[in-house]
């Protein structure tokens, strides 16, 4: 049994313009100690999926279907008291905007201690000492004096670390991080990624990392789920995703990363914008932007299948799965991209750069 099992999760938002299905039939699993990434563009449903794990989706949103099982128990059906105990204690979440997530009127230390007290993990002097140890743990210099700082006195990188410290305060088994490095300088991001790797290896904490930055994913994740328009379009171990992307959307995302030394006049980019959330395209949701779309893509919706065999995907297996007609043999011309691994000098970069064929790299203009 995996630590976390998400099965057929479906979340809807009721808006004035209609019903938005933010997450549509999402299934995946996270093993203990594993680092799992969810990637996708803004609006793909990444954050909503993460909030659902702790039943934190509020009105006008509603989880309409599916199960989220943590250690075999369905989180969505837990009584209030037990859900309270689970949140923060077993599964903790680090929210996206660190400055907004910290309470401006309490000191950093009080916010860490508050979590420990609420879960009766520690109190009084002991809680204070543990909070300071945690601040040191996440790499904050001068933790003693930082303990009594207010959030406005912190830089972005430090605030993000404090949030990680709050998340770790009750030693959760699963830590959810929502865009933890977005908006940080590369140097600070590098420090934070080292910290995450260390946490995963030394604490056996499972991590669900939500991000739109594929560089970050390559850096520190074991497996990746790519979301598009509320659905999973590809799920794979990280090496396979980067070296053998099985969905044209993944390939497009990989190609649009600017890379040092890649002598390209213009960056290949995906045409068009994210799908309309109220009336998603018929068939494959990606087909209006897909350079390899054929008739079948507009009419029938591809299932998530194993790329090797074309058989239906199973959430419990850790294989490479993708939702594209190519893998069930329904695509006549196939996918015309190839991954090129550039190995220009022994110590320098190896890199994937899908590209090459016609149709790739045109703009929305």
């Amino acid at each position: 049994m995996a630590l976390l099992e998400v099965e057929n999760l479906t979340v809807q938002f009721y808006t004035e313009d209609g019903v938005v299905r933010a997450v549509d039939g999402l299934s995946y699993e996270i093993e203990a100690g594993e680092t799992f990434a969810i990637v996708g563009e803004s609006g793909a449903g990444k954050s909503v999926a993460s909030l659902s794990l702790l039943d934190l989706v509020g009105r006008p949103g509603e989880i309409v279907d599916g199960e989220v099982r943590f250690r075999g128990r369905n989180v969505l059906e837990l009584p209030r008291e037990e859900l309270r105990r689970l949140r923060g204690n077993d599964v903790a979440i680090v929210f996206q905007d660190s400055q907004a997530a910290l309470d401006p009127v309490y000191t950093v230390g009080e916010q860490i201690v508050e979590t420990m007290r609420a879960h009766e993990v520690a109190s009084g002097r002991e809680a204070r000492e543990r909070a300071i140890a945690l601040l040191e743990r996440v790499g904050i210099a001068d933790a003693q004096s930082r303990y009594s700082d207010y959030p406005h006195e912190l830089s972005g990188g430090i605030a993000q670390r404090v949030l990680v410290a709050v998340g770790l305060s009750c030693e959760p088994d699963l830590l959810i991080l929502d865009e933890p490095t977005t908006g940080l300088d590369v140097t600070i991001q590098a420090q934070l990624l080292e910290l995450l790797e260390e946490l995963a290896s030394s604490f056996e904490t499972a991590i669900q990392l939500v991000t739109h930055d594929l560089g970050v994913v390559a850096e520190c994740c074991d497996r990746v789920l790519v979301m598009y328009g509320g659905r999973a379009v590809e799920r794979a171990p990280v090496e396979e995703l980067f070296y053998d992307p099985a969905h044209p959307y993944t390939a497009g995302l990989l190609a649009s990363i600017p890379r040092i030394g890649a002598d390209r006049e213009r960056l290949p980019s995906l045409p068009g914008g994210p799908p309309n959330p109220i009336q998603p395209p018929t068939g494959c949701r990606f087909h209006p932007r897909c350079p390899y779309a054929e008739e079948v893509c507009a009419t029938s919706e591809p299932d998530l299948v194993e790329t090797e065999t074309g058989t239906a995907a199973d959430a419990t297996r850790q294989d490479h799965v993708a939702a594209c007609h190519e893998h069930t043999g329904d695509l006549e011309d196939g996918l015309g991209y190839a991954v090129r691994v550039v190995d220009d000098s022994p110590d320098a970069t190896r890199g994937t750069s899908p590209g090459g064929s016609s149709g790739r790299g045109h703009d929305d203009r």
Binding site: R130, G139, Q144, D185, V186, V217, F242, I257, S269, D363
Partner: protein
């Protein structure tokens, strides 16, 4: 002016801010001066893209604002087409704004939420009276099409657009006055990769079409490398290195540039390069470090010539010295400012850390070998650490700073030309290159 003259040139540009806004602070003389921009020389040629890179708080944005005349410099000058911005009167200054435009960092915050997009883009047309009122709507439609939006967008409000589209609107507004120079302040930072790629492509198309010059400010080297003809790397208000992307990334470069470069996550799970992780944040610009400002974090800080020390070892000694200086300045228990208890120590060991606060354990905490290869250095370090372990932090501090003074902290390095062969002049402000230049 001749064809070789740069379009925009900054000389010895400085901008200082003071924190003494209040009367009380002024009376007590408590104000502190922040050196946001500290002596910058810079030029942008016609049709060129100059990339400006650095961490948050290094003064990139302030420099951008000075260059377009949004802020007055405290010293130095900005010259546009041979005219000093400081000498311009109101009318001329207004004219300047039709030549130099600015695209702000946060697209949503820089668009007035109460105006429809047509009014936002049309406002500069009216202010500068560029297009007669009856033809303005056509011009607005043209501009929106230029940046890849539907002309019908003119009737909608900014909130109805995504981040990438808002950035396009901001670019259309800047283009309305047909400028020659566009200062783009982190134009793609807030955007998804796929959207980011499209805005970058748009900017390069516009450059080809209108012959624009860009100052492209960003903290992301991989983005800057993609768009820029020349790159300037900024640290704490100063430019530490400049040159063409090839010169910066393939030849020798400033240790700070190397660190920035290696910090970019490689989108390749099997990549196993050495990452240089800089410790800590950028130091405060209120009281910036002496000499080379990067010496407090530099992994290649130069050891004093009297001793034979490895760079890495000296970095540890340097960190210890700086922490100790803080500890003495703060007063109180020196252990609070030091890396103590050593990282990775559990709570249990931290409690009886008193008994283990010895010279050897302090060395371990800073990654300094138990015995240094250089005997004189070893003797001095041991003496200082024994004093520290015995509780005399001041003696330890003065012993260390007397013995281990790096040239990096005493002298400010001037930019040295390291390569003048390519399309750009490659200049680095670092003592490592200074040594070489004087020797040759």
């Amino acid at each position: 002016m001749t064809g070789d003259d740069p379009l925009l040139r900054a000389e010895g540009l400085e901008k200082r801010f003071t924190t003494s806004d209040g009367l009380l602070e002024r009376l007590l003389g408590r104000g502190e001066t922040i050196r946001a921009v500290d002596g910058v020389d810079l030029e942008i040629a016609e049709g060129e893209t100059l990339g400006l890179v650095g961490e948050s708080g290094c003064g990139k944005t302030t420099l951008g604002r000075l260059l377009v005349g949004l802020d007055e410099p405290s010293a130095g000058s900005v010259v546009y087409r041979g005219r000093d911005l400081a000498t311009l009167d109101r009318r001329e200054r207004r004219e300047l704004r039709t030549n130099v435009q600015y695209v702000f960092q946060n697209p949503l915050a820089s668009l007035n939420p109460q105006l429809p997009v047509g009014d936002i883009v049309g406002e500069p047309l009216a202010v500068h009276d560029i297009v007669p009122p009856d033809r303005r709507d056509d011009r607005i439609a043209d501009l929106l099409e230029t940046v890849g939006l539907e002309p019908s967008a003119a009737n909608r409000y900014p909130r109805e657009f995504s981040g990438g589209q808002c950035q396009r609107i901001a670019i259309a507004r800047a283009l309305a006055v047909e400028p020659e120079v566009l200062v783009c302040d982190e134009p793609v930072t807030a955007l998804d990769v796929s959207v980011q790629a499209r805005i970058l492509n748009l900017l390069s198309e516009l450059q080809a079409e209108f012959g624009l010059s860009y100052l492209f400010v960003s903290h992301d080297l991989s983005v800057v490398e993609h768009v820029a003809d020349r790159i300037a790397v900024m640290y704490l208000g100063r430019i530490v290195e400049r040159g063409s992307p090839t010169q910066l990334f393939e030849g020798d470069s400033h240790p700070y540039t190397e660190a920035l470069l290696s910090a970019i996550p490689e989108p390749d799970p099997c990549w196993e390069g050495d990452r240089i992780v800089l410790e800590g944040d950028v130091p405060s610009a209120i009281d910036p470090p002496s000499g080379c400002q990067f010496h407090t974090r530099c992994p290649k800080v130069i050891p004093p010539s009297a001793y034979d020390l490895e760079c890495e070892v000296f970095r540890g000694v340097m960190d210890l010295r700086l922490d100790l200086a803080d500890a003495v300045a703060d007063g109180g228990d020196p252990r609070e400012a030091l890396r103590w208890p050593p990282a990775g120590a559990t709570n249990a060991t931290a409690i009886d850390a008193d008994s283990t606060f010895t010279a050897g354990a302090i060395k371990d905490a800073y990654g300094i070998p138990r015995t240094l290869t250089d005997e004189d250095a070893e003797a001095a370090l041991t003496e200082a650490l024994e004093a520290l372990a015995a509780g005399d932090a001041e003696r330890a501090r003065s012993r260390l700073s007397r013995t281990f003074e790096s040239p990096c902290e005493t002298d400010r390095p001037d930019p040295q030309v390291v390569d003048d062969s390519g399309d750009a002049r490659h200049r680095i402000a670092c003592h490592r290159f200074y040594d070489r230049a004087t020797r040759e």
